[in-house]
Amino acid sequence: MSIDAVERRLTCIVCPIGCIVTVRVSGDRLEASGYLCSRGLDYARQEALDPRRIAITVVKVRYGDIPVVSVKTDRPIPRRFVREVAKLAAYIEAEAPIELGQILLEDILGTGANLVATRPVRRIE
């Protein structure tokens, strides 16, 4: 007996049309319907099998001209890790000065993505 197929409805975000794509995943097989172009199918496949996002949050800064620095993962990470990244970021502290794009944490949670600063912070003693 095969495992019951899981059916999901996704809203495609590739273009403003916003097709509602119905996706059925059973094992490693995927069926999709409701999309108008091949980009919709690609989106649905990615979103159903391995949804990814860029995680954004803030990290505390010592001696900064502002108390937190905004950060992001430098590439999309699996969606289930996004909340974990935000939680982890709450426990780390960086020290000013910080440059735009500076890596604050490498290979975060084993995703291969680095946590980088998205804003420069000046040092104030």
Binding site: T11, T57, R119
Partner: protein, 418 residues
């Protein structure tokens, strides 16, 4: 009296891109910014989605604006921060000079210029503008205030959040609250469709299981000192409340995301003609005021935009118009007025000179599928599989299309079903 070729009021993306473009053309300008630093709104926008068109990269607001600030520093564009313009008036030295007066910690600033580029952005609508009654409780913020609290100052304003309005800033803040450990009880939207982009509905609400309540409005805040809940009511198709449909949603924080409105007080003082649908000034395709020579308006002060790329494009377009005026002086011009037809809520610019390609930005009144945007007099049409009020439509009319139009005085734009 110090004189500049141009003065730019507002050091956000529109003003900075205008000043950079003017510098490249060899004109000097002074950017006057009221905030502590140049950069404007993107300074507090830590989410991605900025600069896809202008820089060809998907950046966060903070990354985007620091690129732009880097260019401003490299090019030596002159600017003053913490300087608040209090008055713009015709100069005593006479036409075409305008005198700009600003207060700042460094003293009173008085400068003169023949050309003003006004890029003071938009302000958020507040709880007092959306028909909500009740006490003046603490715990009520605009979305931008909540954003500054969390992403610049690192403070979480509350733990159980209700967001009024489903505009993009509200949706983005819903995700930020959810990620930082607050619970978003609901996003409440009066219209039957969401106010924000589809991308944000999916990635900010659906990803975090945040309920979006459509056709519902908040009528009252409940609470003693701090807000303790909001009373909502369902509305019918004409947005009238349905009696008996009141519901209380408990929360400790209310975030108002009821859209933006252009900051035009200084311009109103000068008597510039305003468009009630954009709530910004009426301009031609150089983005120059139709009623006040030498004042150009760009960015959210002109019309509330969805994308920073459009804001930058308008800044550059205003600078282009300003440089033509500086090179060639005043020329008599005849205009063609754009008339709004079916399902067109707003369009900018409102007048065309027909001397050049014209970039138009428009919004529809209601969502529609399979439509074309038609300009009947010049037989041009643009097909769209879908149009939505949340997504600004940008289109270009070629100079060659517009040439025949000069004999007429009006051009009609309308959305038709295919």
């Amino acid at each position: 009296m110090t004189r500049y070729d141009t003065i730019v009021i507002g050091g956000g993306p529109a003003g900075l891109s205008a000043a950079l473009k003017l510098k490249a053309k060899g004109f000097d300008s002074l950017v006057i910014e009221s905030g502590d630093r140049i950069g404007g709104i993107p300074l507090q926008c830590i989410h991605p989605g900025f600069g896809l068109h202008y820089l060809g990269e998907d950046l966060t607001g903070t990354e985007f604006i620091h690129r732009l600030i880097g260019m401003v520093e490299d090019q030596g564009v002159e600017y003053r921060v913490r300087s608040h313009v209090v008055r713009v008036k015709p100069s005593r030295t006479g036409y075409p000079y305008k005198r700009i007066e600003a207060v700042s910690p460094y003293g009173f600033i008085e400068v003169e210029t023949p050309i003003l580029i006004y890029t003071a952005g938009a302000r958020e609508r507040t709880i007092f503008e959306i028909g909500v009654t009740g006490e003046r409780l603490s715990g009520v913020f605009t979305a931008g205030e909540a954003q500054a609290y969390m992403d610049i100052f690192g403070i979480l304003p509350g733990s159980r959040i209700v967001i009024i309005g489903s505009g993009d800033v509200g949706l983005i803040m819903a995700r930020r609250f959810a990620l930082e450990g607050a619970k978003v009880e609901a996003v409440i939207e009066m219209m039957p469709w969401p106010g924000g982009l589809t991308r944000n509905i999916v990635q900010c609400l659906l990803d975090y299981d945040i309920p979006l309540l459509l056709s519902r409005m908040v009528v009252r805040l409940e609470g003693k000192r701090r807000v303790e809940g909001v009373v909502t009511v369902r509305v019918d198709e004409d947005l009238n409340p349905i009696p008996g449909s009141e519901e209380l949603i408990e929360c400790d924080t209310v975030v108002v995301s009821a859209g933006l409105t252009p900051n035009v007080r200084l311009l109103e003082g000068l008597g510039l003609a305003m468009d009630p649908s954009t709530r910004g000034p009426i301009v031609d395709d150089y983005l120059e005021s139709i009623t006040y020579q030498g004042i150009f308006i760009a960015g959210n002060a002109l019309v509330v935009n969805d994308l920073v790329d459009y804001v930058v494009e308008q800044g550059e377009s205003a600078a282009e118009g300003a440089s033509i005026l500086l090179y060639e002086g005043v020329k008599p011009r005849s205009y063609v007025r754009i008339t709004k037809g079916r399902n067109v809520r707003l369009i900018v610019p409102q007048y065309l000179s027909c001397e050049k390609d014209a970039v138009l930005y428009m919004r529809v009144q209601k969502p529609e599928y399979d439509v074309k945007v038609c300009f009947e007099e010049i037989s041009r049409e643009f097909r769209y599989p879908v149009v939505r009020p949340a997504e600004m439509i940008r289109l270009t009319l070629r100079r060659s299309d517009l040439e025949d139009l000069r004999r007429l005085d009006s051009l009609t734009v309308e959305v038709k079903r295919v």
